[in-house]
Symmetry: C2
Subunit: 280 residues, 2 copies
Protein backbone atom coordinates (compact mmCIF):
# COMPACT_ATOMS: atom_id res chain seq x y z
CA UNK A 1 0.00 0.00 0.00
CA UNK A 2 1.33 3.44 -0.87
CA UNK A 3 1.27 6.47 1.38
CA UNK A 4 -1.28 8.12 -0.94
CA UNK A 5 -3.57 5.11 -0.75
CA UNK A 6 -3.34 5.08 3.02
CA UNK A 7 -4.23 8.78 3.19
CA UNK A 8 -7.16 8.22 0.83
CA UNK A 9 -8.48 5.47 3.10
CA UNK A 10 -8.14 7.81 6.08
CA UNK A 11 -10.11 10.48 4.23
CA UNK A 12 -12.81 8.09 3.06
CA UNK A 13 -13.31 6.52 6.47
CA UNK A 14 -12.70 9.77 8.37
CA UNK A 15 -10.61 7.73 10.73
CA UNK A 16 -7.01 6.84 11.48
CA UNK A 17 -7.90 4.12 13.93
CA UNK A 18 -6.07 0.83 13.91
CA UNK A 19 -7.56 -2.01 15.95
CA UNK A 20 -5.15 -4.29 17.77
CA UNK A 21 -6.14 -7.94 17.62
CA UNK A 22 -4.33 -8.92 20.84
CA UNK A 23 -6.62 -11.88 21.08
CA UNK A 24 -5.66 -13.25 24.47
CA UNK A 25 -7.47 -16.59 24.82
CA UNK A 26 -8.16 -15.92 28.48
CA UNK A 27 -10.11 -12.81 27.62
CA UNK A 28 -12.11 -14.14 24.69
CA UNK A 29 -15.80 -14.40 25.71
CA UNK A 30 -16.64 -17.72 27.33
CA UNK A 31 -19.27 -18.77 24.81
CA UNK A 32 -16.61 -18.87 22.07
CA UNK A 33 -14.22 -21.17 23.90
CA UNK A 34 -15.91 -24.31 22.56
CA UNK A 35 -15.39 -23.29 18.92
CA UNK A 36 -12.81 -25.19 16.87
CA UNK A 37 -10.63 -22.08 16.57
CA UNK A 38 -11.85 -19.55 19.17
CA UNK A 39 -9.21 -16.92 18.38
CA UNK A 40 -10.04 -16.87 14.68
CA UNK A 41 -13.77 -16.96 15.35
CA UNK A 42 -13.39 -14.03 17.74
CA UNK A 43 -11.22 -12.05 15.29
CA UNK A 44 -13.55 -12.73 12.39
CA UNK A 45 -16.53 -11.44 14.36
CA UNK A 46 -14.65 -8.30 15.41
CA UNK A 47 -13.35 -7.66 11.90
CA UNK A 48 -16.74 -8.24 10.24
CA UNK A 49 -18.27 -5.56 12.44
CA UNK A 50 -15.39 -3.04 12.42
CA UNK A 51 -13.74 -3.21 8.98
CA UNK A 52 -15.53 -0.04 7.87
CA UNK A 53 -14.88 1.91 11.08
CA UNK A 54 -11.09 1.55 11.18
CA UNK A 55 -8.29 1.85 8.64
CA UNK A 56 -6.21 -1.08 9.76
CA UNK A 57 -5.57 -4.01 12.07
CA UNK A 58 -2.49 -4.77 14.12
CA UNK A 59 -1.90 -8.42 14.96
CA UNK A 60 0.42 -8.96 17.91
CA UNK A 61 2.09 -12.34 17.38
CA UNK A 62 2.74 -12.92 21.09
CA UNK A 63 -0.92 -13.72 21.72
CA UNK A 64 -0.88 -16.39 19.00
CA UNK A 65 2.53 -17.96 19.62
CA UNK A 66 1.47 -18.72 23.17
CA UNK A 67 -1.04 -21.19 21.68
CA UNK A 68 1.72 -22.97 19.78
CA UNK A 69 1.20 -24.15 16.20
CA UNK A 70 -2.58 -23.87 16.64
CA UNK A 71 -2.06 -20.22 17.47
CA UNK A 72 -0.02 -19.73 14.31
CA UNK A 73 -2.85 -21.25 12.36
CA UNK A 74 -5.27 -18.72 13.93
CA UNK A 75 -2.89 -15.90 13.03
CA UNK A 76 -2.54 -17.10 9.44
CA UNK A 77 -6.29 -17.49 9.06
CA UNK A 78 -6.96 -14.04 10.53
CA UNK A 79 -4.43 -12.31 8.29
CA UNK A 80 -5.71 -14.21 5.26
CA UNK A 81 -9.31 -13.36 6.06
CA UNK A 82 -8.66 -9.62 6.36
CA UNK A 83 -6.54 -9.64 3.20
CA UNK A 84 -9.22 -11.35 1.17
CA UNK A 85 -12.39 -9.76 2.49
CA UNK A 86 -11.27 -6.27 3.46
CA UNK A 87 -8.12 -5.52 1.42
CA UNK A 88 -8.39 -1.76 1.95
CA UNK A 89 -7.39 -2.26 5.60
CA UNK A 90 -3.72 -1.73 6.45
CA UNK A 91 -2.43 -4.92 8.05
CA UNK A 92 0.36 -4.72 10.62
CA UNK A 93 2.32 -7.63 12.08
CA UNK A 94 3.32 -6.37 15.50
CA UNK A 95 6.41 -8.51 16.03
CA UNK A 96 9.08 -6.03 17.22
CA UNK A 97 11.79 -8.31 15.83
CA UNK A 98 15.40 -7.45 15.08
CA UNK A 99 18.14 -9.75 13.89
CA UNK A 100 21.13 -10.07 11.58
CA UNK A 101 20.64 -10.03 7.81
CA UNK A 102 20.13 -13.71 7.05
CA UNK A 103 17.59 -14.02 9.88
CA UNK A 104 15.85 -10.74 9.06
CA UNK A 105 15.35 -12.06 5.52
CA UNK A 106 13.43 -15.02 6.95
CA UNK A 107 11.19 -12.74 8.99
CA UNK A 108 10.58 -10.50 5.98
CA UNK A 109 9.63 -13.51 3.88
CA UNK A 110 7.30 -14.75 6.62
CA UNK A 111 5.38 -11.55 7.17
CA UNK A 112 5.57 -9.87 3.75
CA UNK A 113 5.58 -12.75 1.24
CA UNK A 114 3.87 -15.63 2.99
CA UNK A 115 1.35 -13.78 5.16
CA UNK A 116 1.10 -10.64 2.98
CA UNK A 117 1.07 -8.11 5.82
CA UNK A 118 1.50 -4.47 4.78
CA UNK A 119 3.86 -3.69 7.65
CA UNK A 120 5.94 -5.12 10.48
CA UNK A 121 7.13 -3.45 13.66
CA UNK A 122 10.90 -3.68 14.26
CA UNK A 123 13.28 -2.87 17.07
CA UNK A 124 16.10 -0.58 15.86
CA UNK A 125 18.79 -1.69 18.35
CA UNK A 126 20.71 -3.88 15.86
CA UNK A 127 20.97 -1.15 13.23
CA UNK A 128 20.66 -0.77 9.49
CA UNK A 129 21.40 -4.30 8.25
CA UNK A 130 18.69 -5.69 10.53
CA UNK A 131 16.12 -3.46 8.80
CA UNK A 132 17.28 -3.47 5.15
CA UNK A 133 15.85 -6.89 4.20
CA UNK A 134 12.39 -5.54 5.03
CA UNK A 135 12.89 -2.35 3.02
CA UNK A 136 13.63 -4.41 -0.08
CA UNK A 137 9.92 -5.29 -0.42
CA UNK A 138 8.12 -2.78 -2.62
CA UNK A 139 4.85 -1.44 -1.18
CA UNK A 140 5.63 -2.86 2.28
CA UNK A 141 6.41 -0.91 5.42
CA UNK A 142 8.88 -1.16 8.30
CA UNK A 143 7.62 0.46 11.49
CA UNK A 144 10.57 1.12 13.79
CA UNK A 145 10.30 1.60 17.52
CA UNK A 146 11.10 5.22 18.26
CA UNK A 147 9.63 6.25 21.58
CA UNK A 148 7.43 3.59 23.14
CA UNK A 149 4.45 4.00 25.45
CA UNK A 150 5.70 1.91 28.39
CA UNK A 151 7.55 3.06 31.56
CA UNK A 152 10.74 1.35 30.31
CA UNK A 153 11.02 4.02 27.60
CA UNK A 154 12.84 5.99 30.29
CA UNK A 155 15.62 3.43 30.62
CA UNK A 156 17.35 3.98 27.28
CA UNK A 157 15.13 5.80 24.77
CA UNK A 158 14.99 8.86 27.01
CA UNK A 159 18.67 8.92 27.96
CA UNK A 160 20.92 11.62 26.57
CA UNK A 161 23.40 11.11 23.76
CA UNK A 162 26.67 13.01 23.38
CA UNK A 163 24.91 15.56 21.14
CA UNK A 164 23.43 18.68 22.74
CA UNK A 165 19.77 18.30 23.67
CA UNK A 166 19.38 14.92 22.02
CA UNK A 167 17.68 11.85 23.40
CA UNK A 168 18.53 8.38 22.13
CA UNK A 169 15.07 7.99 20.54
CA UNK A 170 15.69 11.18 18.57
CA UNK A 171 19.01 9.88 17.31
CA UNK A 172 17.32 6.62 16.35
CA UNK A 173 14.64 8.46 14.39
CA UNK A 174 17.15 10.84 12.72
CA UNK A 175 19.44 8.01 11.68
CA UNK A 176 16.93 5.33 10.78
CA UNK A 177 14.74 7.68 8.75
CA UNK A 178 17.68 7.95 6.32
CA UNK A 179 17.64 4.19 5.65
CA UNK A 180 14.31 4.26 3.88
CA UNK A 181 11.75 6.76 2.66
CA UNK A 182 8.39 8.12 3.75
CA UNK A 183 6.96 5.41 1.48
CA UNK A 184 8.41 2.42 3.33
CA UNK A 185 9.14 3.52 6.90
CA UNK A 186 7.05 4.59 9.85
CA UNK A 187 7.95 5.06 13.50
CA UNK A 188 6.27 4.03 16.73
CA UNK A 189 5.60 7.02 18.98
CA UNK A 190 3.80 6.16 22.20
CA UNK A 191 0.58 7.98 23.03
CA UNK A 192 1.63 8.35 26.65
CA UNK A 193 4.54 10.55 25.48
CA UNK A 194 2.53 13.27 23.71
CA UNK A 195 4.82 16.10 24.82
CA UNK A 196 7.63 14.58 22.72
CA UNK A 197 5.49 14.28 19.58
CA UNK A 198 6.12 17.85 18.45
CA UNK A 199 9.85 17.19 18.56
CA UNK A 200 9.41 14.01 16.55
CA UNK A 201 7.39 15.92 13.95
CA UNK A 202 10.27 18.39 13.59
CA UNK A 203 12.65 15.52 12.75
CA UNK A 204 10.29 13.62 10.47
CA UNK A 205 7.48 15.94 9.32
CA UNK A 206 6.34 13.62 6.54
CA UNK A 207 6.57 10.10 7.96
CA UNK A 208 3.59 8.19 9.22
CA UNK A 209 3.62 7.46 12.95
CA UNK A 210 2.04 4.43 14.59
CA UNK A 211 0.78 5.51 17.98
CA UNK A 212 -0.10 2.81 20.50
CA UNK A 213 -1.17 3.52 24.03
CA UNK A 214 -4.62 5.10 23.88
CA UNK A 215 -7.32 3.22 25.74
CA UNK A 216 -5.94 0.78 28.31
CA UNK A 217 -2.60 2.59 28.50
CA UNK A 218 -4.21 6.00 28.97
CA UNK A 219 -2.90 8.17 26.13
CA UNK A 220 -4.87 11.27 25.14
CA UNK A 221 -6.19 11.18 21.56
CA UNK A 222 -6.81 14.89 21.18
CA UNK A 223 -3.37 15.95 22.38
CA UNK A 224 -1.47 13.38 20.37
CA UNK A 225 -3.48 14.09 17.22
CA UNK A 226 -2.94 17.84 17.36
CA UNK A 227 0.79 17.25 17.68
CA UNK A 228 1.05 14.32 15.29
CA UNK A 229 -1.28 14.83 12.31
CA UNK A 230 0.43 16.16 9.19
CA UNK A 231 -0.79 17.12 5.72
CA UNK A 232 -1.23 13.48 4.66
CA UNK A 233 -2.76 12.37 7.91
CA UNK A 234 0.49 10.83 9.01
CA UNK A 235 -1.01 9.01 11.99
CA UNK A 236 -2.25 5.54 12.74
CA UNK A 237 -3.56 5.36 16.28
CA UNK A 238 -3.94 1.91 17.74
CA UNK A 239 -6.31 0.67 20.42
CA UNK A 240 -6.49 -2.98 21.37
CA UNK A 241 -7.94 -4.09 24.71
CA UNK A 242 -10.24 -1.08 25.10
CA UNK A 243 -12.03 -2.04 21.88
CA UNK A 244 -11.92 -5.81 21.60
CA UNK A 245 -12.36 -6.73 25.28
CA UNK A 246 -14.81 -4.10 26.47
CA UNK A 247 -17.70 -6.57 26.59
CA UNK A 248 -17.44 -10.24 27.65
CA UNK A 249 -21.00 -11.04 26.53
CA UNK A 250 -22.33 -12.43 23.24
CA UNK A 251 -22.58 -8.90 21.85
CA UNK A 252 -18.81 -8.33 22.17
CA UNK A 253 -18.55 -7.53 18.46
CA UNK A 254 -21.34 -4.97 18.49
CA UNK A 255 -19.74 -3.30 21.50
CA UNK A 256 -16.35 -3.31 19.74
CA UNK A 257 -17.97 -1.48 16.83
CA UNK A 258 -19.53 1.04 19.22
CA UNK A 259 -16.17 1.63 20.89
CA UNK A 260 -14.48 2.16 17.52
CA UNK A 261 -17.19 4.56 16.41
CA UNK A 262 -16.79 6.60 19.58
CA UNK A 263 -13.10 7.06 18.79
CA UNK A 264 -13.92 7.82 15.16
CA UNK A 265 -16.21 10.65 16.11
CA UNK A 266 -13.29 12.32 17.83
CA UNK A 267 -11.00 11.50 14.90
CA UNK A 268 -13.38 13.00 12.36
CA UNK A 269 -13.45 16.21 14.35
CA UNK A 270 -9.67 16.29 14.63
CA UNK A 271 -9.21 15.60 10.91
CA UNK A 272 -11.68 18.33 10.10
CA UNK A 273 -9.90 20.76 12.43
CA UNK A 274 -6.69 20.15 10.42
CA UNK A 275 -8.64 20.50 7.14
CA UNK A 276 -7.71 16.99 6.10
CA UNK A 277 -11.11 15.76 4.98
CA UNK A 278 -11.85 15.70 1.26
CA UNK A 279 -15.59 16.10 1.90
CA UNK A 280 -15.90 17.63 5.33
Amino acid sequence: MTKDELFQTIQQKKSYLCIGLDSDMEQIPGHLQSKVDPAFYFNKAIVDLTHDVCVGYKINTAFYEVQGNKGWRSLEKTAGYIREKYPENFLIADVKRSDIGNTARQYAETFFSRLDFDAVTLSPYMGKDSVEPFLAYKGKWSILLGLTSNPGANDFQLTATDQPEEYLFERVIKTASQWGTTENMMFVAGATQTHYLEGIRQIIPDHFLLVPGIGAQGGNLQELSRAGLNQQGGLLVNASRSIIFSDPSKSFDVTARDQAMKINKQMERLLSEKKLLANP
Copy 2:
Protein backbone atom coordinates in the same frame (compact mmCIF):
# COMPACT_ATOMS: atom_id res chain seq x y z
CA MET B 1 19.27 -24.45 35.16
CA THR B 2 21.52 -22.71 37.70
CA LYS B 3 24.83 -21.03 36.94
CA ASP B 4 26.64 -23.75 38.90
CA GLU B 5 24.98 -26.49 36.89
CA LEU B 6 25.90 -24.76 33.67
CA PHE B 7 29.53 -24.47 34.76
CA GLN B 8 29.57 -28.15 35.77
CA THR B 9 28.33 -29.11 32.31
CA ILE B 10 31.06 -26.98 30.76
CA GLN B 11 33.67 -28.73 32.91
CA GLN B 12 32.34 -32.20 32.20
CA LYS B 13 32.10 -31.68 28.47
CA LYS B 14 35.24 -29.50 28.30
CA SER B 15 33.26 -27.28 26.00
CA TYR B 16 31.26 -24.07 25.99
CA LEU B 17 29.92 -24.59 22.50
CA CYS B 18 26.32 -23.89 21.69
CA ILE B 19 24.99 -25.14 18.36
CA GLY B 20 22.54 -22.93 16.51
CA LEU B 21 19.69 -24.84 14.90
CA ASP B 22 19.02 -22.21 12.20
CA SER B 23 17.41 -24.93 10.15
CA ASP B 24 16.78 -23.08 6.90
CA MET B 25 14.70 -25.44 4.75
CA GLU B 26 16.57 -24.36 1.64
CA GLN B 27 19.84 -25.58 3.11
CA ILE B 28 18.66 -28.87 4.57
CA PRO B 29 20.19 -31.75 2.56
CA GLY B 30 18.08 -32.74 -0.44
CA HIS B 31 17.51 -36.34 0.59
CA LEU B 32 15.59 -35.14 3.70
CA GLN B 33 13.14 -32.93 1.83
CA SER B 34 10.71 -35.81 1.26
CA LYS B 35 10.36 -36.57 5.00
CA VAL B 36 7.10 -35.64 6.72
CA ASP B 37 8.87 -33.02 8.85
CA PRO B 38 12.29 -32.35 7.26
CA ALA B 39 13.32 -29.66 9.75
CA PHE B 40 12.64 -31.85 12.77
CA TYR B 41 14.26 -34.87 11.11
CA PHE B 42 17.34 -32.78 10.32
CA ASN B 43 17.52 -31.32 13.84
CA LYS B 44 17.06 -34.73 15.47
CA ALA B 45 19.91 -36.19 13.43
CA ILE B 46 22.20 -33.25 14.31
CA VAL B 47 21.25 -33.38 18.00
CA ASP B 48 21.65 -37.16 18.28
CA LEU B 49 25.22 -36.88 17.02
CA THR B 50 26.25 -33.68 18.83
CA HIS B 51 24.49 -33.67 22.22
CA ASP B 52 27.65 -34.83 23.98
CA VAL B 53 29.99 -32.43 22.16
CA CYS B 54 28.18 -29.19 22.97
CA VAL B 55 26.62 -27.69 26.08
CA GLY B 56 23.53 -26.23 24.50
CA TYR B 57 21.37 -25.52 21.49
CA LYS B 58 20.06 -22.21 20.23
CA ILE B 59 16.87 -22.33 18.20
CA ASN B 60 16.28 -19.26 16.04
CA THR B 61 12.52 -18.95 15.62
CA ALA B 62 12.78 -17.03 12.31
CA PHE B 63 13.72 -20.20 10.44
CA TYR B 64 10.61 -21.97 11.74
CA GLU B 65 8.05 -19.17 11.51
CA VAL B 66 8.81 -18.87 7.82
CA GLN B 67 7.24 -22.34 7.42
CA GLY B 68 4.04 -21.20 9.12
CA ASN B 69 2.23 -23.39 11.61
CA LYS B 70 4.10 -26.45 10.31
CA GLY B 71 7.32 -24.67 11.20
CA TRP B 72 6.06 -24.03 14.72
CA ARG B 73 5.32 -27.72 15.02
CA SER B 74 8.93 -28.50 14.00
CA LEU B 75 10.17 -26.01 16.57
CA GLU B 76 8.01 -27.49 19.32
CA LYS B 77 9.06 -31.02 18.46
CA THR B 78 12.74 -30.08 18.36
CA ALA B 79 12.63 -28.30 21.73
CA GLY B 80 10.63 -31.17 23.24
CA TYR B 81 13.04 -33.76 21.91
CA ILE B 82 16.13 -32.04 23.31
CA ARG B 83 14.39 -31.47 26.65
CA GLU B 84 13.39 -35.10 27.00
CA LYS B 85 16.43 -36.90 25.63
CA TYR B 86 19.30 -34.58 26.51
CA PRO B 87 18.11 -32.45 29.43
CA GLU B 88 21.64 -31.45 30.41
CA ASN B 89 21.83 -29.24 27.32
CA PHE B 90 21.07 -25.55 27.80
CA LEU B 91 18.20 -24.64 25.50
CA ILE B 92 17.98 -21.11 24.11
CA ALA B 93 15.06 -19.61 22.19
CA ASP B 94 16.71 -17.00 20.00
CA VAL B 95 13.76 -14.67 19.55
CA LYS B 96 15.18 -11.18 20.23
CA ARG B 97 11.72 -9.98 21.28
CA SER B 98 10.80 -6.92 23.30
CA ASP B 99 7.38 -5.62 24.17
CA ILE B 100 5.27 -4.02 26.89
CA GLY B 101 4.45 -5.98 30.04
CA ASN B 102 1.22 -7.73 29.06
CA THR B 103 2.76 -8.88 25.78
CA ALA B 104 6.08 -9.85 27.34
CA ARG B 105 4.15 -12.08 29.75
CA GLN B 106 2.74 -13.98 26.76
CA TYR B 107 6.19 -14.48 25.29
CA ALA B 108 7.55 -15.64 28.65
CA GLU B 109 4.73 -18.15 29.00
CA THR B 110 5.34 -19.39 25.46
CA PHE B 111 9.04 -19.98 25.74
CA PHE B 112 9.50 -20.75 29.45
CA SER B 113 6.28 -22.53 30.47
CA ARG B 114 4.93 -24.11 27.32
CA LEU B 115 8.15 -24.92 25.48
CA ASP B 116 10.39 -25.17 28.56
CA PHE B 117 13.38 -23.35 27.11
CA ASP B 118 16.12 -22.41 29.61
CA ALA B 119 16.64 -18.99 28.09
CA VAL B 120 15.36 -16.42 25.62
CA THR B 121 17.21 -13.62 23.85
CA LEU B 122 15.68 -10.17 24.29
CA SER B 123 16.21 -6.72 22.82
CA PRO B 124 16.73 -4.11 25.58
CA TYR B 125 15.40 -1.06 23.72
CA MET B 126 12.03 -0.99 25.55
CA GLY B 127 13.58 -1.10 29.02
CA LYS B 128 12.97 -2.78 32.34
CA ASP B 129 9.26 -3.58 32.20
CA SER B 130 9.77 -5.40 28.89
CA VAL B 131 12.25 -7.74 30.59
CA GLU B 132 10.77 -8.21 34.08
CA PRO B 133 8.10 -10.76 33.12
CA PHE B 134 10.88 -13.09 31.99
CA LEU B 135 12.91 -12.60 35.17
CA ALA B 136 9.95 -13.78 37.24
CA TYR B 137 10.58 -17.40 36.15
CA LYS B 138 12.90 -19.18 38.58
CA GLY B 139 15.77 -21.07 36.97
CA LYS B 140 15.17 -19.39 33.59
CA TRP B 141 17.43 -16.89 31.86
CA SER B 142 17.02 -13.64 29.94
CA ILE B 143 19.83 -13.02 27.46
CA LEU B 144 19.87 -9.32 26.55
CA LEU B 145 21.42 -7.93 23.42
CA GLY B 146 24.47 -5.95 24.47
CA LEU B 147 26.90 -5.59 21.58
CA THR B 148 25.88 -7.61 18.53
CA SER B 149 28.09 -9.15 15.85
CA ASN B 150 26.58 -7.44 12.79
CA PRO B 151 27.70 -4.23 11.02
CA GLY B 152 24.58 -2.44 12.31
CA ALA B 153 26.05 -2.55 15.83
CA ASN B 154 27.79 0.67 14.79
CA ASP B 155 24.54 2.54 14.23
CA PHE B 156 23.40 2.84 17.85
CA GLN B 157 25.17 0.38 20.15
CA LEU B 158 28.53 1.98 19.41
CA THR B 159 27.36 5.59 19.63
CA ALA B 160 28.44 7.73 22.55
CA THR B 161 26.21 8.62 25.49
CA ASP B 162 26.47 11.83 27.50
CA GLN B 163 28.78 10.08 29.99
CA PRO B 164 32.53 10.30 29.44
CA GLU B 165 33.93 7.36 27.48
CA GLU B 166 30.67 5.44 27.43
CA TYR B 167 29.05 3.70 24.49
CA LEU B 168 25.34 2.98 24.45
CA PHE B 169 25.92 -0.78 24.71
CA GLU B 170 27.92 -0.19 27.90
CA ARG B 171 25.10 1.86 29.39
CA VAL B 172 22.67 -0.90 28.43
CA ILE B 173 24.80 -3.54 30.14
CA LYS B 174 25.42 -1.38 33.25
CA THR B 175 21.74 -0.56 33.65
CA ALA B 176 20.15 -3.85 32.66
CA SER B 177 22.53 -5.94 34.75
CA GLN B 178 20.91 -4.30 37.80
CA TRP B 179 17.45 -5.61 36.85
CA GLY B 180 18.36 -9.22 37.50
CA THR B 181 21.23 -11.28 38.86
CA THR B 182 24.05 -13.41 37.51
CA GLU B 183 21.62 -16.32 37.99
CA ASN B 184 18.96 -15.10 35.58
CA MET B 185 20.62 -12.73 33.12
CA MET B 186 23.21 -13.06 30.41
CA PHE B 187 24.28 -10.67 27.66
CA VAL B 188 24.96 -11.10 23.98
CA ALA B 189 28.45 -9.98 23.03
CA GLY B 190 29.33 -10.48 19.38
CA ALA B 191 32.44 -12.45 18.49
CA THR B 192 33.35 -9.96 15.79
CA GLN B 193 33.78 -7.29 18.51
CA THR B 194 36.48 -9.02 20.59
CA HIS B 195 38.31 -5.81 21.41
CA TYR B 196 35.28 -4.63 23.40
CA LEU B 197 35.00 -7.84 25.43
CA GLU B 198 37.55 -6.79 28.02
CA GLY B 199 35.52 -3.67 28.72
CA ILE B 200 32.36 -5.72 29.05
CA ARG B 201 34.11 -8.02 31.52
CA GLN B 202 35.00 -4.98 33.64
CA ILE B 203 31.32 -4.02 33.86
CA ILE B 204 29.98 -7.53 34.42
CA PRO B 205 32.80 -9.81 35.56
CA ASP B 206 30.46 -12.57 36.73
CA HIS B 207 27.68 -12.74 34.15
CA PHE B 208 27.57 -15.36 31.45
CA LEU B 209 27.95 -14.02 27.90
CA LEU B 210 26.40 -15.55 24.82
CA VAL B 211 28.79 -14.99 21.94
CA PRO B 212 27.49 -15.46 18.41
CA GLY B 213 29.53 -14.78 15.32
CA ILE B 214 32.24 -17.43 15.13
CA GLY B 215 32.18 -19.55 12.01
CA ALA B 216 30.23 -17.97 9.17
CA GLN B 217 30.54 -14.47 10.65
CA GLY B 218 34.31 -14.79 11.18
CA GLY B 219 34.87 -14.18 14.91
CA ASN B 220 38.10 -15.46 16.48
CA LEU B 221 37.55 -18.08 19.19
CA GLN B 222 40.93 -17.77 20.87
CA GLU B 223 40.81 -14.00 21.20
CA LEU B 224 37.25 -13.85 22.43
CA SER B 225 37.78 -16.68 24.90
CA ARG B 226 40.88 -15.14 26.44
CA ALA B 227 38.95 -11.92 26.97
CA GLY B 228 35.64 -13.44 27.94
CA LEU B 229 36.19 -16.54 30.08
CA ASN B 230 35.77 -15.97 33.81
CA GLN B 231 36.16 -18.17 36.88
CA GLN B 232 32.88 -19.97 36.22
CA GLY B 233 33.41 -20.28 32.51
CA GLY B 234 31.07 -17.42 31.83
CA LEU B 235 30.90 -18.03 28.09
CA LEU B 236 28.57 -19.77 25.68
CA VAL B 237 29.92 -19.52 22.16
CA ASN B 238 27.47 -20.18 19.38
CA ALA B 239 28.08 -21.51 15.89
CA SER B 240 25.22 -22.27 13.53
CA ARG B 241 25.74 -22.49 9.78
CA SER B 242 29.42 -23.53 10.01
CA ILE B 243 28.40 -26.65 11.93
CA ILE B 244 24.99 -27.70 10.66
CA PHE B 245 25.39 -26.83 6.98
CA SER B 246 29.01 -27.78 6.33
CA ASP B 247 28.04 -30.93 4.42
CA PRO B 248 25.02 -31.27 2.09
CA SER B 249 25.44 -35.07 1.77
CA LYS B 250 23.85 -37.92 3.70
CA SER B 251 26.63 -37.75 6.27
CA PHE B 252 25.73 -34.16 7.27
CA ASP B 253 25.26 -35.22 10.91
CA VAL B 254 28.65 -36.96 11.13
CA THR B 255 30.29 -33.89 9.63
CA ALA B 256 28.44 -31.64 12.09
CA ARG B 257 29.88 -33.73 14.93
CA ASP B 258 33.37 -33.44 13.44
CA GLN B 259 33.00 -29.67 13.14
CA ALA B 260 31.85 -29.40 16.75
CA MET B 261 34.72 -31.58 17.95
CA LYS B 262 37.24 -29.38 16.14
CA ILE B 263 35.94 -26.35 18.02
CA ASN B 264 35.89 -28.33 21.26
CA LYS B 265 39.58 -29.20 20.96
CA GLN B 266 40.35 -25.48 20.95
CA MET B 267 37.89 -24.89 23.78
CA GLU B 268 39.44 -27.61 25.96
CA ARG B 269 42.84 -25.99 25.50
CA LEU B 270 41.47 -22.55 26.34
CA LEU B 271 39.63 -23.84 29.43
CA SER B 272 42.80 -25.58 30.55
CA GLU B 273 44.85 -22.42 29.98
CA LYS B 274 42.48 -20.61 32.37
CA LYS B 275 42.65 -23.53 34.85
CA LEU B 276 38.92 -24.10 34.59
CA LEU B 277 38.90 -27.86 34.13
CA ALA B 278 38.08 -30.03 37.15
CA ASN B 279 40.09 -32.93 35.70
CA PRO B 280 42.55 -31.39 33.26
